[in-house]
Symmetry: C2
Subunit: 404 residues, 2 copies
Amino acid sequence: MNSNPPDSRAARAALTRLIEPGDLTGSALVAVLGPTAALDLICGPEDRIPASLQQAVAETVGTGGTKALKVEAGLERWRPRVRDLAPARDLETMRRLGGGFLTPEDDHWPAKLDALGTAAPIGLWWRGRSESADLDAVRRRIAVVGSRDATEYGIRATHELVAPLVERGAQIVSGGAYGIDAAAHRAALASLTASSGRGQADPTMAVMAGGLDRFYPSGNDDLIRQVADHGIVLAEVAPGTSPTRWRFLQRNRLIAALCDVTVVVEARWRSGALTTARRAAEMGREVGAVPGSVFSANSAGCHRLIAEGAGRVVTRPEDVVEMAGGIERGPAPSASADGRAHDGLDIQDLLLYDALPVRTATTPDNLCRVAGLGIGAVLGGLSRLQSRGLAVQSRAGWTRGGAT
Amino acid sequence: MNSNPPDSRAARAALTRLIEPGDLTGSALVAVLGPTAALDLICGPEDRIPASLQQAVAETVGTGGTKALKVEAGLERWRPRVRDLAPARDLETMRRLGGGFLTPEDDHWPAKLDALGTAAPIGLWWRGRSESADLDAVRRRIAVVGSRDATEYGIRATHELVAPLVERGAQIVSGGAYGIDAAAHRAALASLTASSGRGQADPTMAVMAGGLDRFYPSGNDDLIRQVADHGIVLAEVAPGTSPTRWRFLQRNRLIAALCDVTVVVEARWRSGALTTARRAAEMGREVGAVPGSVFSANSAGCHRLIAEGAGRVVTRPEDVVEMAGGIERGPAPSASADGRAHDGLDIQDLLLYDALPVRTATTPDNLCRVAGLGIGAVLGGLSRLQSRGLAVQSRAGWTRGGAT
């Protein structure tokens, strides 16, 4: 039924002001009628909704006609805001601020948002580099989120995680908040000046809970402006909309949907970052959590995610690369195993190696007794150990070789 | 075929000197012939093993007749040590040291070791309180193991984990090594003097890799003596046997088998503690790992266990209690959730709560617009919020109540 007339773009811009993010009745109405007719219905005088439309909306949402999904109840929610509508002004405001408005009809609309189904946003307002506004470009996006009251540990962990990921070509997505979010954006922006030109053009994206005419929190205004200068800032609410608790929760679902992997660096037992992670897990996206001290309340949420099986342990950038199924041809992951001289020995040779004295040389007969091995096993084993430098033969007999 | 004659005890004592821990051919031979006949065979002159006996041993081990399981090859391993046999002297030595020797025929033999199957020890040497030598007493045993080069963080985590578990009646089992092992024993022993008599008689057990005539490492001699004075020290090797790498690995399987839960507090990427944890997991026992800083090499092994799904996240003693299926009637686990005033609100009321101004009072009409709700939802919601102290009505209108 979506007829997508020429003014559907302005209609969607208007609808982002009327309908709260995640209001499934509203999204379903737009899906069923198309944006222009949906807007006409909301702005019109009609209070009675035909049963067939109600039925179609309920079916689109897919949960049957529960009370919360009644279109008539929706009209009650949406209509008090009609008087504030000025979509042309909003579009002009955003153009002036160096941005725009993306709709699902645009080529640059991110296909990843399809995972949200009916809960996908009606449109996306953006500010930033116009090249960065191709949200459907093939690109690994990694969400790095966490506590506002981050610890020094969390900040450091964020930087050490983000820098190598950006260097490999990932875009770091976060929410522009204080703490871990800010550290993630900063670490990504730092790549622009670091590593002698290996930095990439749009290393980071901020997804906001309020309108993009003003950045929240104001203390991060400079930082988020930098994100816009070198990357992109998104919101699904119209300019002038204030961030509320509900909109933060819904913003989190956007971050989860936009990213291949969501990593929580620090989070308290209850934390908005956990909702981002859970939304990502529900969508089948990879979720990671950085462990920390059991005495730090700011790691309790990360440990909770891991304990509940919702998040995998992330201790190194390579863990995220693996979860993302690769990012690009970066340097090979550094070897993490500290192999030892005696690795790979079979049991008998390990027994023999243990029995070999470090200083005073001994005889094969003696080694039989000490190691509890037959003479054949000892002679054969000594030869194998010798070839690996683990046993040394002198005139006095045998001693251990190599590092312990 | 196990005839269990009167001298089977001395025979088992002898066999613990001849056969290395975990030597499945040896254990199977003992299972097939009984300890006395097995010892006679090893000490006798016969080199040729009847095919029927070889077959029975291979079937007992359950892996078919692979080369390593040939009884004739076993004789080559075991016979060089026959000249050192003196089981009566060993039993007397242990009696003199305040200990003894347990065999699977004893009532006090721990049934939990059945999980090892053929790899169960031939016997267990012990030193300690004779009351503590009832290893089959119904009692939760928790293994707490980890790095020798523990950090301050690991030591503290060990203490905070162990003390409440002991207070609830668990016995803490470890390996007597430096670092986490020592911290675990110490924390358990501390309960004897702490908590005004709520401490229990035998709070801890040490399982050693070498003979119990001398404690290893010597720097922990005093500590392990205290463990013996107030609990129990075990080994499956005869007195005078030195600890070797192989015996440490096999000792780890004993710790895993004896305990309901194995917790690794700190471990490097490769660490003996991980083998204990893996053996426990293979037996279907619960395994936990304490997370820590991603910058600490001593937590890398713990994170590895968790990442591989071999260990669950342990951040509090309650986690271990839960894994053990309870320990005894202890104090209820402390609530870990920091609930907030607005928890439990439905979506509409949460939207409304967010829309309520903190200072300047507002009208229901205004709230409709700000919250995006119909007037019915706003009036009903205000009433619900008011009843929870989350909305306050004055003559000027409505403001938010309660803590944010």
